[in-house]
C-alpha cells in the first residue's frame, strides 16, 4: 500500500531512469554490442548461431599486438560458456568475440584485448577472465578509466579467493564486479553493500553452451558475470544512451527490488 503511494515520487525522482526500470524485463538486448574477451566463441554452436557478429584474435607482429579475424573458435570452452549465458539472458544482443593470446604471463595481450574492445565502441564488455600481475596496474587503470568516460560498461568476474584478488574486478569502481550465488532465475541478482564486489548473480550449476555443440553445467564467478552483462544489454536496449553511473544506479534499484520480492515470497518475474 505504502509502496504504491510512493511510486509517483519515485517516478519523478528517477524521471529519466524510470522507463528503463519498468521496461527492461521485456527487453532482449536487441542491437546492443557485447564483447566477450575470453578463449574465443564457438560460433557454429546451435545455441549461438547468428548471434556472434564478429570474431577476432590477437597476434603479435614486429613486437606489436594486432587483431585479425578468427576462425579457430574456442579450444577451452570458457568463452563459449560465457557467450551462451549472455545469449540466454539477452537473446538478441550482438556478441563480439575477442580471443586472447594464451600463455602464462600474457598480461600485455590481455590489456591489448581490453583496449581493442573499448576502441571498437563496444557497449558492454564481459570480462570473466582476470590477471594477477600488479605490474599492469597502471595500464589497466588507464584503460578502465577511458572505458568509463566513453560510456562502455565493463562487467568483471571477482575471484573466489580472498586476499588474492584477480584484477581488474577489485581495481576500480568504474566497472561492475560480480560474484556467484546459487539460484535458478537468470535475472535474480543482488547487491553487496560495503564490499569490494558489488553484485552477486547466478553462477552455480548453470547450464550453457560448450564447444562442439554440447552443453555443460558450469560453476564459478566467471559464469555469474555474463548474467549481469546480459542484463546490462537489456537496460541499454531500453536506453542506449545510459552512462555507467546510471547503469549502476539501475542495477542497484533492480537488486533492491529483487530482495523485496524474494522477502515477500514472490519470485522475480521471468523474462
Amino acid at each position: 500500500m505504502v509502496e504504491v503511494n510512493r511510486e509517483p515520487e519515485a517516478a519523478e525522482f528517477f524521471a529519466d531512469l524510470w522507463p528503463v526500470f519498468t521496461s527492461w524485463r521485456s527487453k532482449t538486448g536487441r542491437g546492443v554490442r557485447v564483447a566477450v574477451i575470453d578463449s574465443g566463441i564457438d560460433a557454429e554452436h546451435p545455441g549461438l548461431k547468428a548471434r556472434v557478429k564478429s570474431s577476432v584474435e590477437i597476434f603479435q607482429q614486429d613486437g606489436k599486438y594486432n587483431f585479425r579475424p578468427s576462425t579457430v573458435g574456442d579450444d577451452v570452452g570458457h568463452g563459449t560458456a560465457c557467450a551462451g549465458i549472455i545469449a540466454q539472458v539477452a537473446p538478441d544482443a550482438e556478441l563480439h568475440s575477442v580471443k586472447m593470446m594464451r600463455g602464462y604471463g600474457m598480461h600485455e595481450p590481455y590489456l591489448a584485448c581490453l583496449d581493442y574492445a573499448v576502441r571498437q565502441n563496444m557497449q558492454v564488455i564481459n570480462l570473466s577472465v582476470g590477471a594477477t600481475a600488479k605490474a599492469m596496474y597502471k595500464q589497466l587503470h588507464d584503460i578502465l578509466h577511458r572505458a568509463y568516460r566513453r560510456g562502455c560498461i565493463i562487467v568483471a568476474a571477482a575471484s573466489n579467493i580472498p586476499n588474492d584478488p584477480v584484477y581488474p574486478s577489485v581495481l576500480t569502481s568504474s566497472l561492475i564486479s560480480v560474484v556467484k550465488k546459487e539460484c535458478t532465475d537468470p535475472l535474480d541478482f543482488g547487491f553487496l553493500p560495503r564490499q569490494v564486489y558489488e553484485l552477486v548473480a547466478r553462477g552455480v550449476n548453470v547450464e550453457t553452451t560448450w564447444p562442439g555443440g554440447g552443453y555443460r553445467q558450469v560453476t564459478g564467478n566467471s559464469f555469474a558475470t555474463p548474467h549481469v552483462a546480459g542484463i546490462v544489454a537489456r537496460l541499454l536496449e531500453a536506453d542506449p544512451n545510459l552512462q555507467p553511473f546510471q547503469i549502476k544506479t539501475l542495477l542497484y534499484a533492480i537488486a533492491r527490488q529483487n530482495e523485496k520480492r524474494l522477502a515477500a515470497g514472490a519470485a522475480p518475474d521471468q523474462r
Binding site: 560458456a81 600463455g103 573466489n160 584477480v166 560448450w210 554440447g214 558450469v218 560453476t219
Partner: protein, 288 residues
C-alpha cells in the same frame, strides 16, 4: 741421538710423530672429485624434494576424500617450454598423467593457470568426453571437473584439479561449497609446491654441473667417458663398484619421479632384507 738419518729418539711429541708410519696422501683424480661432489649434492636435492612430494600426495589424498572425488592432481608449469605438467596425481590414471605435458595455452587447467579463476564444469549431455587432450592420452573420461589455482604471493604457480567422483557415473557436479573447500586445500598445498619447485631449480643447476663434469675432456678423464674411466680406475674394487653403482642409480633416477621412487623402494627393501638376514645370522650372506 740415533745416528740413523731422519730418526730422532726421545719422548718429545716430535719424536712420537716421527715414529708414526707416514700416511700416503690419497691422490684423487680431479674427475672423481667432481663426480663425488655432484653425486652427493644430487642426494641432498633428493632429500629436499622427496618429503615435499610425499606431503603433497598426502594432502591431495585428503582433499580428494573430502570432496568425494576419484582423482586429483597438482599441475605446475614446465619451465622449459611453458607447457604444464602433472607434479602429483592420485587415482586410476595417476601414472599416465605424470607423463603427460599440456601444451601452452591448452585445456581448462591451462586456462585456470593463466587467469587465476577457479571453475567447475560438469558434462550434462553425457557425451563421451569433453576434456579431449588428457582423456585421449589416458583413455579416461572426464565427466565432472573442478580446477582451482595454487596461489603464492598473488602469483599462480599451479592448478589443483579434481576429476569425477568416487563410484560410477553419472557424477554429481561439484558444488559451490566444494569449490570453496578446494580453495582451502589449494592454500595449504601451494607453499609445498612452491618449495618443491625451488628444490627442482637447484637440481637443474647441479644437473648442469654434472653434465659439465661428465663432459670433461682432460687427458686424465680418458676422453670423458665415465664408465670407461671407472673400468680403468686403479682403486679398491669396493670403491669402484660404489661409484659405478652411484652412476647407475643416477641414470635411472634421472628418468623421472616414478623411477626414483622405484630405486628408493628397491634399495630400502634390500637394506631391510639384509638387516634381517644379519639379525638371523645363519652364517650365510644374502648374496651367497
Amino acid at each position: 741421538m740415533n745416528k740413523r738419518k731422519g730418526v730422532r729418539t726421545g719422548n718429545s711429541g716430535t719424536d712420537r710423530a716421527a715414529k708414526r708410519p707416514r700416511r700416503r696422501e690419497p691422490t684423487e683424480h680431479p674427475f672423481e672429485k667432481r663426480l663425488r661432489a655432484v653425486v652427493s649434492t644430487v642426494d641432498v636435492i633428493d632429500t629436499l624434494s622427496a618429503p615435499l612430494v610425499l606431503s603433497i600426495n598426502n594432502l591431495l589424498s585428503v582433499a580428494a576424500a573430502s570432496l568425494n572425488c576419484g582423482e586429483a592432481s597438482v599441475i605446475v608449469r614446465n619451465d622449459n617450454d611453458g607447457s604444464l605438467r602433472f607434479l602429483c596425481a592420485i587415482g586410476e590414471v595417476a601414472h599416465e598423467l605424470l607423463r603427460i605435458r599440456i601444451p601452452p595455452g591448452k585445456g581448462i587447467a591451462g586456462f585456470v593457470f593463466e587467469t587465476g579463476q577457479p571453475m567447475a564444469i560438469a558434462d550434462v549431455s553425457r557425451e563421451s568426453s569433453f576434456y579431449a587432450g588428457v582423456d585421449k592420452a589416458t583413455g579416461h573420461s572426464t565427466q565432472t571437473l573442478l580446477a582451482t589455482p595454487l596461489l603464492v604471493d598473488g602469483q599462480t604457480i599451479g592448478v589443483l584439479e579434481f576429476v569425477n567422483r568416487l563410484g560410477w557415473p553419472p557424477y554429481q557436479p561439484f558444488t559451490a561449497d566444494e569449490m570453496d573447500r578446494a580453495a582451502d586445500f589449494a592454500a595449504a598445498i601451494a607453499p609445498l609446491v612452491a618449495a618443491h619447485e625451488r628444490a627442482g631449480l637447484l637440481e637443474s643447476l647441479f644437473g648442469r654441473a654434472m653434465a659439465h663434469a661428465l663432459a670433461d675432456e682432460s687427458p686424465q678423464a680418458d676422453g670423458g667417458d665415465l664408465r670407461q674411466w671407472l673400468d680403468e680406475l686403479r682403486a679398491a674394487p669396493e670403491h669402484r663398484d660404489l661409484l659405478l653403482l652411484a652412476v647407475l642409480l643416477r641414470d635411472v633416477a634421472g628418468r623421472g619421479g616414478a623411477e626414483r621412487e622405484l630405486c628408493r623402494g628397491v634399495l630400502e627393501t634390500l637394506a631391510t632384507f639384509i638387516k634381517h638376514g644379519a639379525d638371523a645370522d645363519d652364517g650365510h650372506t644374502f648374496l651367497s
